[in-house]
Amino acid sequence: MSPPAAAYGGPDWKRFTSHVGEHVLVVPFSRVYDLSADAARNFDAGSPDARAAVAALAAPAEGEVALDIVEEPPVQSLSLNVSVHCNLSCGYCYAGRGNFGGRQGAAMSWEVAKAAVDRLLAGADATRPITVGFLGGEPFVNRPLLHRIVRYAADAAGAGGLDVRFSVTTNGTLLRPEDHALLRAHRFAVTVSIDGAAELHDVQRPLHRAGGSSLADLIRGCAGLLAEPGRAQVAARATVTHGVVDLRERFEAILAMGFPEVGFSPLRRAAPGAGAFLDEDWPRYTRAMIALARGELAQARRSGRIRLSNLAVALKQIYRGASSPYPCGAGGGYVSVASDGRWYACHRAVGDPEFELGGNDGLDADARRRFLAGRHVHAQPGCRGCWARYLCSGGCHQEEAARTAASCDHVRDWLEFCLSAYCDATGLSHAPDEAPPPTGELAP
């Protein structure tokens, strides 16, 4: 139960319980503490002691950056929209099969891609990893450029002493053995879009031209990589559309194909009739996600591995104390390069002037500053009073218009579940009036 916001000017803590005891999340910097029963009562009553403790803990610790600052970090990651076509025609595609409704016409050239990578290498903080991502359309439609730019970036980064990593989001249907070899040889995060078993996947993600099963092509394309991923990390990502009832069946179906982990993304925004979530979908989706996550936690206690990406990422973020005024790196450490060399804050915003931040010829610093200031979570009126504001940070910029009370309730309910799950997973309460700390890692 959160204390009443009006009492002290904004929820800077979130009280929650787990099977191991009482806890509090200090919202700035996402600090999680165990509480004794007395301390929990103090928080629930919004006592001066509790407020003073939170006020002290809400200050940045060493190495942390104040949350009201609009940072302008160097660009460490960019995605190249290497292709403007796709061999599938998914109704919900944000990119209009790659041409963004005509805003991205011709495929990316070698010169444009190379210039973007050169600019990334020149401006990045060399002590931290850089990432080159590939999007489209389907990136492997433009296979020659993708291969060439990976080799170029790897060589150039190596010569400059930079640690380069790659990512690609693909429908998996066009992958060939030479692609597998490339993905295995580099540190690639490979995200394969797959929505479930054939009867669902083939409907939501049909082949563009001929009839047939896109899932069959996907399985053919990915099998070799899944069997032998090398340095690549392969994960599946499933889009969930209106009418969701149960996720388990899709989850199991995708795992059965050999994917080591699966993440779900609800469709918040799409063309009319393409299956975007309605308010009525969110409670169902929350229940389905929590049910799936509970099963996965039980499974993980046996196997030691969590296969639901949403849960694994959330637990990892809670452990670290992830806390950011931005939901992603868009416009900050990350930009997306359109096929014409223009830079956009986000790969979903190609061609949108509000998201344009310059190009290969130079980052538009003013535009970038305006974008970041406008997207800061403190600038979102609906987010200021929310305890989840530094974990959710307002959600995807592109989906802002689709944000409703129901979708925000989902975020809070899911995060509260994950906070409890984190405490359950990390053992007995350390609070003084509870049992002694777990000693399972100690001898004998």
Binding site: F29, R31, D34, A61, H430, P432, T439, G440
Partner: protein
């Protein structure tokens, strides 16, 4: 001010720990990392990283004193501090005036001495001491000025009487004995950065020569085995102790002359003189593993041969069994020592207490090794194939294989323990083969776990060497509960209780290890609780020992715990 205790929030994620550590572990300006305890290069010897006597130089508010023998000399006065205290009403004007005079307010350059010290001196109670008259024997008083200051109770009322050196007149000051730590447990603000180390000497200089071991930020050895020219010289004299500070530094074919033992005059003649160490410090050798090093140090390469990886499981199960078996032997020996030492001479009582607690510590160390070996096994086999290794071995890898033989802590038993723990032999030799295998086929984590066990084995051997010395000073009849304690007879109630608890502990460990991780913690913790007083294994075993019987554990007829034999080529 609120009287309720501050609310405790116990951190559970990294961000919460960051909030705590950022406030506590911030670097103080002026204290380089080299002043931290863990940075002391002499940590391998019991040296000093700070001189606690510097604390007492500020025992009285606003004064800094030098304490030398029976003199307490005012070295500095914090007049600003005194004036501030006066301004807020904490210090009377008369006292402030006294501080002004001590600070030379009259324009005279006077040295002030504390001649009387009145206060509460810890266990010695209220005393009014004439500082110059303190002496040995103490006659119920502190033996010298520093001891007196040290004994003063923190925050208690202290009265100083001060006199100007070689002049007449006295001043009296009252104040509270300063608190050396602030409310957060950090050094009080009055101490300057680096102040606690200021009296330490610098190594490798003039009086490093013959100053005692205790005032060095870094330490030096007294005797060593000499640097040798051949890898394995035939003459045993190369293994004789020599004086590390010897002035004869030639690298001759013959070994250097032996150390002169306790004859300090003879030693002195053979050592470098003060001026020599200033000139020739670089010729003093670095010492590793007790031996001077003449060439760049190369760690001893493990001589053990790697196993066929298919056999590693068999070896790990055996070595876990060996750990259990030596634990049986060590516990039998520990409990054979007298638990009640009242009425014994202090020397005998101390030796028994030390030996008993050290053998017990080593036995507990073996228990941790059982856990570590099981962790390696689980990680080697994978959780799906792993079954805990908790079968006691029938033999120990000693002298071609010897039966497990629990016995009292007689000299022969201690010698046997030394052999069991000897590096490159016995148990260590077994681990060396496991390590060589993991170096080729295992993970870094598995390798490190085995290395840690091996390092602790070496420490165990040294511990038994010490125990041999301690117990060797007395006759066994004086330190044993019974001269030759027999194994408990069949059906003995106390022994039956021990055996039952022991089996219960193994079952809990089996379940805990098998489950692993957090879920297994409850069982492992249950096993631990079953050992502890008042009704645990420790108390039950002590009851058996008190009857003059040997504490032993019978073989268990359960496939999980049934005794195992050594692999054929293991001993």
């Amino acid at each position: 001010m609120s009287t309720t205790p501050p609310m405790k929030l116990l951190p559970r994620n990294a961000a919460a720990f960051r909030a705590g550590s950022g406030r506590e572990a911030r670097l103080a300006a002026g204290n380089p990392v080299s002043t931290r305890l863990e940075s002391g290069v002499g940590n391998c010897f019991p040296g000093l990283e700070c001189d606690v006597r510097n604390l007492d130089r500020r025992f009285f508010p606003f004064l800094e004193v030098d304490i030398i023998d029976n003199f307490i000399i005012v070295a500095a006065v914090d007049l600003n501090g005194a004036e501030r205290s006066l301004a807020v009403g904490d210090l009377p004007e008369a006292a402030a005036e006294t501080y002004r005079r001590l600070a030379g307010g009259g324009g005279e350059n006077i040295t002030w001495l504390v001649t009387r010290l009145k206060g509460h001196f810890g266990p010695m109670g209220e005393l009014d001491l004439e500082v110059g008259a303190l002496s040995t024997p103490s006659n119920g008083r502190p033996v010298d000025a520093w001891t007196a200051v040290r004994l003063l109770d923190e925050d208690s009322e202290v009265e100083l009487t001060l006199r100007p050196y070689r002049r007449t007149g006295t001043l009296v000051l009252k104040g509270r004995r300063a608190r050396y730590l602030d409310g957060n447990g950090a050094l009080a603000a009055m101490f300057q950065a680096g102040e606690l180390t200021q009296s330490l000497c610098s190594p490798w200089t003039h009086d490093f020569r013959d100053c005692g071991c205790f005032y060095w930020a870094s330490n030096h050895p007294d005797i060593v085995t000499p640097v040798r020219l051949a890898a394995e010289p035939a003459d045993p004299a190369w293994n004789r102790h020599v004086d590390w500070l010897r002035s004869e530094r030639s690298m001759a074919a013959a070994p250097p002359p032996p150390d002169q033992g306790r004859d300090t005059n003879a030693r002195r003649l053979l050592q470098m003189d003060h001026y020599e160490i200033n000139h020739a410090w670089q010729s003093l050798h670095i010492v590793l593993e007790g031996r001077e090093q003449g060439t760049p140090y190369v760690p001893r390469a493990p001589k053990a041969e790697a196993l066929d990886p298919g056999r590693l499981e068999e070896y790990l199960r055996y070595v876990a069994g060996v750990e259990l078996a030596v634990m049986h032997e060590y516990l039998a020996a520990a409990y054979s020592l007298r638990a009640d030492v009242t009425g014994l001479s202090p020397g005998l009582a101390d030796d028994i207490r030390a030996a008993r607690s050290e053998i017990m510590r080593v036995a507990i160390g073996e228990m941790t090794h059982i856990r570590a070996v099981n962790d390696v096994l689980a990680s080697w086999l994978g959780r799906a194939r792993y079954q805990p290794a908790l079968q006691v071995s029938r033999t120990l890898p000693l002298g071609g294989g010897t039966q497990v033989r629990p016995q009292a802590a007689l000299p022969a038993a201690i010698d046997r323990f030394i052999d069991i723990e000897r590096p490159s032999a016995g148990v260590d030799g077994l681990y060396a083969r496991i390590l060589a295998t993991l170096e080729k086929h295992g993970t870094d984590e598995q390798e490190q776990m085995v290395r840690r066990i091996m390092a602790e084995g070496e420490e165990h051997q040294q511990t038994f060497e010490f125990i041999k010395v301690w117990l060797g000073r007395h006759a066994p009849v004086d330190y044993l509960v019974a001269a030759n304690p027999p194994v408990p007879p069949d059906g003995h109630a106390g022994h039956t209780a021990v055996q039952s608890t022991y089996q219960g502990i193994l079952e809990l460990l089996y379940d805990g290890y098998l489950t692993g991780g957090i879920n297994g913690a409850q069982s492992v913790n249950g096993a631990r609780m079953a050992m502890l007083p008042p009704n645990g294994l420790a108390a039950q075993a002590q009851a058996v020992a008190a009857e003059g019987l040997l504490v032993v554990f019978d073989p268990i007829d359960d496939p999980r715990f049934v005794p195992i034999d050594a692999p054929q080529d293991a001993v």
